[in-house]
C-alpha cells in the first residue's frame, strides 16, 4: 500500500481491503456530488439542505477514509468537513474563496485516493497550503491566495470578503497554552505518529514535542498552542478516537482547575479500563444489566434535560421528498452479453415467424397464437434490455460546468453555461466515445468563440457570453449541439488559411462548405495558440471520432454573432425495426423509422430532369427519385422484375423516394457492424442476418438523402 496508509486495527481475521474498491467508488461519487453542489451553490441564499448535503459528502469520505486507513485523505477531508460544519451551522457566510478552496480540496482528495487505488509509492503531494487556507477560512479570515501559476489574463477576482459573523464560541480561545496531551491506551501506539505531522503542516497550530509516557500503550505530548481542546480533539480524531485522549493544561493544579475531557487515566496498577471508544447510557432501553463489563458513562451535568425532541445538535435534515432510486451495480460485460443473447433471440424468433408463414393458420392455431405471443414478448424484452445501457446525457454534461468555470477564469472571460435536454438518453458505449469530442468543442467555444468581456461590451453584447449544450432525439438519431454567442467563424480568415495551406477553395463556396474546411488536419486560425486548444490538432480528430460512431458534424456560424456545431449520432441500434425491400434478387433493409410511405408508381408520375435525375410527384410535392438498382448496381437478368414501387424515406429534414421492386415485409433486425471484419461501405449503415440465415445490407438513409442534393 502507499505511504500514509495504515491498516485499521483489529486482528488478522479482518481484511478490510475487500471493501476498498467500494469505498473508492463511493468516495469518488461523493466528491463528484460535492463538486456539483458547490458549483450550484447560491452564495447569498444557500439553504440548510444544500449546506448539509455538501457537509455530508465530505463527512462520508472522511469517515470511510479513516475507517479503511487512508489517513491522508481523512486528514484533508476532515479539514473540509470542519469548514463545512461551520457553514452549515451558519457560523460563517459562504464566499467564493471558500468554494474555490473546497473545490481544490476535492480535487486533491481525488488525487490522493487515486494514488491509493493504483498503489503509487513515493512522496504524496503536499496539501499543507490547502490545509492552511481552509483553516484560515474556517477561522473567519481571508487567507493569502494560493500560490497559483500567474494567470495570463487579468482574472476577475472576487473582492476579498469581509469575514462575517464572529465564530460561535464552540471553542473558547484563551490564548496560548501549554498542554499535556496523553493518548492511550492505544492498541497500536504508532497510530498517533501523525499528530506531530499535524503540528508541522498546519500553520498556526502550534508546536509539539513528545515526552516519555512510562507506559507501552500510551504516548504523551507537550504542546504549545492557541487552539481549543475541542479543535485539537477534532484534529486528532482520525488518528485516535476522542475517548483515548486527555488534554491537560500544564502548570495547573489537580483536576478541577484544568480542562479535563472525557476519561481519566486510570492510576497505574489499576486494571486497565476496558477498550474505549464506545459506551452505554445508564438506564437506557436495551442496556445489558448486571455483570459483563457494561461500561456505563454518564454525562449527567445539571443541564436541563433536553426535551425528547432532541438536543442542540444541528436539526436533522427535514425529510425531503427525495426518492432514492434503488440501484445495483452490474459489470458492463454482463450487460453486453445479455444484449447479445437477446439479439440472437430476435433472430431466432424472426426465423420462426418466417418459417411459419407457409403453415395453414387454421390447422395450427395454437402454434400461431404462441408465435404471436413470442413476437410480443421478444419485442418487450428487447426494449427493456436496450434501456439498461441507456443513460441520460446529464452524465456527459456534468463535467462541463466545472471545466468551463476553471477555463473561463483562466482566460479572463465570463461565460455562462446552459444545458438543454439533459434527460435525453444515449447508449453508454456512445457516451464514453462522445465525451472527448464534445469537450473539445466546448473548449473551443470558450477559447476561440467567446470574446473577452471588454470586447463583448464594445460590440454591444452582454459581458457574459453563453455556451449552450443541448441534446435531443430526432428520428433514429440523437443530435447534440454546442452553441455559443461569441465571435463566430470568419469566412475570410478561413479561406485565406486554406489557400495558405494549398487547399483548393473558391470564393463562390457556400458558407457551409467553408466551415467544413476547419476539419482539415492541422487547421487553426487562432492567432495565439493557448495551451487550451487551438493547436490545430482538434477539429479533424473530432470529426474522425464522430465519423467512427457513424455520426456527422455540421457547423453553422454567423460572424459576430456566434457559432453552432451539430453532432448527429445514430442511436446504437443493436436491434432495429426494419422494412425489407427487394431489388433484383437482393434484399435490402430500410430503417422503419425513416420510412414515410410507399406506393406503386405509374410512369407518368415520374419526370426526368437534367442530368438524368428523376423526380416523382407525391401529392403536391416533387421529390428526387433514387433508383436502388443503379446505386447498388444490382444485376438484372432478362425477363426479370423491374422496379415500380416507391418508398419515401425522410432523413435530415429531406425526403427522397427510393425505387425498388417489391416490399418484402417488416421485421425486427439485429444490426451487425460491417466494419468489424470488412470496412465502411457507402450508403450502407450496417448489415443484418435474415431469418433464412442470409446477410442483408441495411441502408443509410442519411447518405442516400444527401446524394440527391448536389
Amino acid at each position: 500500500m502507499t505511504e500514509g496508509h495504515q491498516e485499521s486495527g483489529g486482528g488478522d481475521s479482518f481484511d478490510l481491503s475487500q471493501f476498498y474498491q467500494i469505498f473508492f467508488e463511493e468516495a469518488g461519487e461523493n466528491l463528484d456530488l460535492m463538486e456539483q453542489m458547490l458549483l450550484n451553490l447560491n452564495l447569498e441564499t444557500a439553504d440548510d439542505e444544500e449546506l448539509n448535503g455538501i457537509f455530508r459528502c465530505a463527512h462520508s469520505v472522511k469517515g470511510g477514509a479513516a475507517t479503511f486507513g487512508f489517513a491522508d485523505v481523512a486528514e484533508l477531508t476532515h479539514q473540509m468537513e470542519s469548514l463545512l460544519d461551520r457553514l452549515r451551522r451558519h457560523e460563517l457566510q459562504p464566499n467564493p474563496m471558500m468554494v474555490d478552496v473546497l473545490l481544490e480540496s476535492a480535487d486533491a482528495s481525488r488525487v490522493l485516493l487515486a494514488r491509493h487505488q493504483t498503489g503509487e509509492t513515493g512522496e504524496p503531494p503536499s496539501n499543507a497550503d490547502l490545509v492552511r487556507r481552509i483553516s484560515e477560512l474556517a477561522a473567519g479570515g481571508a487567507p493569502a491566495p494560493a500560490a497559483a501559476p500567474p494567470a495570463p489574463a487579468p482574472v476577475v477576482a472576487p473582492p476579498v470578503p469581509v469575514p462575517v459573523a464572529a465564530p460561535a464560541p464552540l471553542s473558547a480561545n484563551p490564548g496560548v497554552r501549554q498542554l499535556e496531551i496523553r493518548m492511550g491506551p492505544l492498541e497500536r501506539p504508532d497510530q498517533v505518529d501523525g499528530v506531530k505531522d499535524l503540528f508541522r503542516d498546519i500553520v498556526g497550530l502550534g508546536s509539539v514535542a513528545e515526552v516519555a509516557s512510562g507506559r507501552a500503550d500510551t504516548r504523551v505530548f507537550h504542546a504549545t498552542t492557541s487552539s481549543s481542546n475541542e479543535d485539537l480533539l477534532d484534529l486528532f480524531a482520525f488518528h485516535v478516537s476522542r475517548e483515548q485522549v486527555n488534554i491537560r493544561e500544564m502548570g495547573a493544579a489537580a483536576p478541577g482547575a484544568a480542562t479535563w475531557t472525557d476519561r481519566d487515566d486510570p492510576p497505574p496498577g489499576a486494571p486497565v479500563a476496558p477498550a474505549p471508544g464506545f459506551g452505554f447510557f445508564e438506564g437506557a432501553p436495551g442496556v445489558p444489566t448486571g455483570g459483563a463489563a457494561a461500561v456505563t458513562v454518564e454525562a449527567t451535568e445539571a443541564r436541563p434535560a433536553a426535551a425528547k425532541t432532541g438536543a442542540a445538535k444541528p436539526a436533522p435534515s427535514p425529510v425531503a421528498a427525495q426518492p432514492e432510486a434503488a440501484t445495483i451495480r452490474v459489470a458492463i460485460s454482463k450487460v453486453d452479453q445479455l444484449i447479445n443473447l437477446v439479439g440472437e433471440l430476435v433472430i431466432t424468433q424472426a426465423m420462426l415467424a418466417q418459417n411459419s408463414q407457409t403453415l395453414d393458420p387454421a390447422a395450427n392455431q395454437q402454434l400461431m397464437a404462441g408465435l404471436a405471443d413470442l413476437d410480443r414478448n421478444t419485442r418487450d424484452l428487447q426494449e427493456s434490455v436496450m434501456s439498461i445501457r441507456m443513460i441520460p446525457m446529464s452524465i456527459v454534461f456534468s463535467r462541463f460546468p466545472r471545466m468551463l468555470r476553471d477555463l473561463a477564469s483562466k482566460l479572463g472571460k465570463k461565460v455562462e453555461f446552459v444545458t438543454q435536454g439533459e434527460a435525453t438518453e444515449l447508449d453508454k458505449g456512445l457516451v464514453e466515445k462522445i465525451t472527448d469530442p464534445l469537450t473539445h468543442l466546448v473548449r473551443n467555444s470558450c477559447d476561440h468563440g467567446i470574446e473577452m468581456p471588454a470586447d463583448r461590451v464594445a460590440a454591444g453584447k452582454p459581458e457574459t457570453g453563453t455556451i449552450t449544450l443541448s441534446a435531443a432525439h430526432q428520428g433514429g438519431s440523437i443530435v447534440i449541439e454546442v452553441r455559443d454567442d461569441g465571435r463566430g467563424l470568419s469566412r475570410e480568415k478561413i479561406l485565406n488559411k486554406a489557400r495558405e495551406r494549398g487547399l483548393e477553395v473558391s470564393d463562390q463556396m457556400s458558407d457551409g462548405d467553408v466551415w467544413q474546411l476547419i476539419f482539415a488536419p492541422g487547421f487553426s486560425t487562432a492567432e495565439v495558440v493557448t495551451d487550451v486548444s487551438g493547436r490545430g490538432v482538434g477539429m479533424d480528430v473530432v470529426k474522425k471520432n464522430i465519423a467512427a460512431l457513424n455520426g456527422t458534424v455540421e457547423i453553422d456560424s454567423s460572424e459576430g454573432y456566434g457559432m453552432r456545431v451539430s453532432v448527429r449520432l445514430p442511436l446504437t441500434l443493436a436491434i432495429m425495426d426494419g422494412m425489407s425491400v427487394g431489388v433484383g434478387d437482393e434484399v435490402y433493409i430500410l430503417p422503419l423509422s425513416s420510412v414515410v410511405e410507399s406506393f406503386q408508381v405509374k410512369d407518368d408520375a415520374v419526370n426526368t430532369v437534367a442530368q438524368g435525375s428523376r423526380l416523382v410527384k407525391v401529392r403536391d410535392e416533387y421529390m428526387p427519385v433514387i433508383e436502388l438498382e443503379k446505386v447498388f448496381q444490382v444485376p438484372r437478368y432478362d425477363g426479370g422484375k423491374s422496379s415500380d414501387i416507391m418508398v419515401v424515406v425522410e432523413a435530415e429534414g429531406s425526403r427522397v423516394a427510393l425505387l425498388v421492386d417489391e416490399l418484402l415485409g417488416q421485421q425486427q433486425v439485429v444490426v451487425k457492424n460491417l466494419e468489424t471484419n470488412y470496412r465502411k461501405v457507402p450508403n450502407v449503415s450496417g448489415a443484418t442476418i435474415l431469418g433464412d440465415g442470409k446477410v442483408a445490407l441495411i441502408l443509410d438513409t442519411s447518405t442516400l438523402v444527401r446524394r440527391s442534393r448536389h
Binding site: G63, T67, F281, A284, P316
Partner: protein, 120 residues
C-alpha cells in the same frame, strides 16, 4: 440467529459492517438511511439496530426517536455509530433513547465486541 439492522448511507461502511456481522454468525439487514430503516422496521423485528448518525432524509437521532415510539422497538438495543463523542452528542443520543454509542472509525473487532455485550 439474531437479526441486526445496519443503517448507514455509505455503501462501503454498510458492506464492512454487514460482512463483519455475517461472519460472526449474525443475520443482517441493510438500510441506506433513517427512512429506509424505519420502513424495514415495520415488517420485521430486529434484535439490534446499528445506525450511523449523519444520513440524508432522516438521521440517526431521528431514527432512534421514531423507533422508540414503535411498540416493537421500545427496548431493542440501538447503537449509534458516530464520529462525535462530545457531551452534546451523548446528551442528544440519550435523549433520543439510544442504548449506547460506538465511535468511528472503529474496527471490526471492536464492533463485534460491543455487539456481543448488548445483543439479546
Amino acid at each position: 440467529m439474531p437479526l441486526i439492522l445496519a443503517v448507514d448511507d455509505s455503501p462501503s461502511m454498510r458492506k464492512m459492517v454487514s460482512f463483519t456481522l455475517a461472519g460472526a454468525g449474525y443475520q443482517v439487514v441493510e438500510a441506506v438511511d433513517g427512512i429506509d430503516a424505519y420502513e424495514k422496521a415495520q415488517s420485521q423485528t430486529f434484535d439490534l439496530v446499528l445506525t450511523d448518525q449523519n444520513m440524508p432524509r432522516l438521521d440517526g437521532l431521528g431514527l432512534t426517536r421514531k423507533l422508540r415510539e414503535h411498540p416493537n422497538f421500545k427496548t431493542t438495543p440501538i447503537l449509534m455509530l458516530t464520529t462525535e463523542s462530545s457531551d452534546m452528542m451523548k446528551q442528544a443520543g440519550r435523549a433520543a433513547g439510544a442504548t449506547g454509542w460506538l465511535v468511528k472509525p472503529f474496527d471490526p473487532a471492536r464492533l463485534l465486541e460491543v455487539i456481543k455485550k448488548v445483543i439479546k
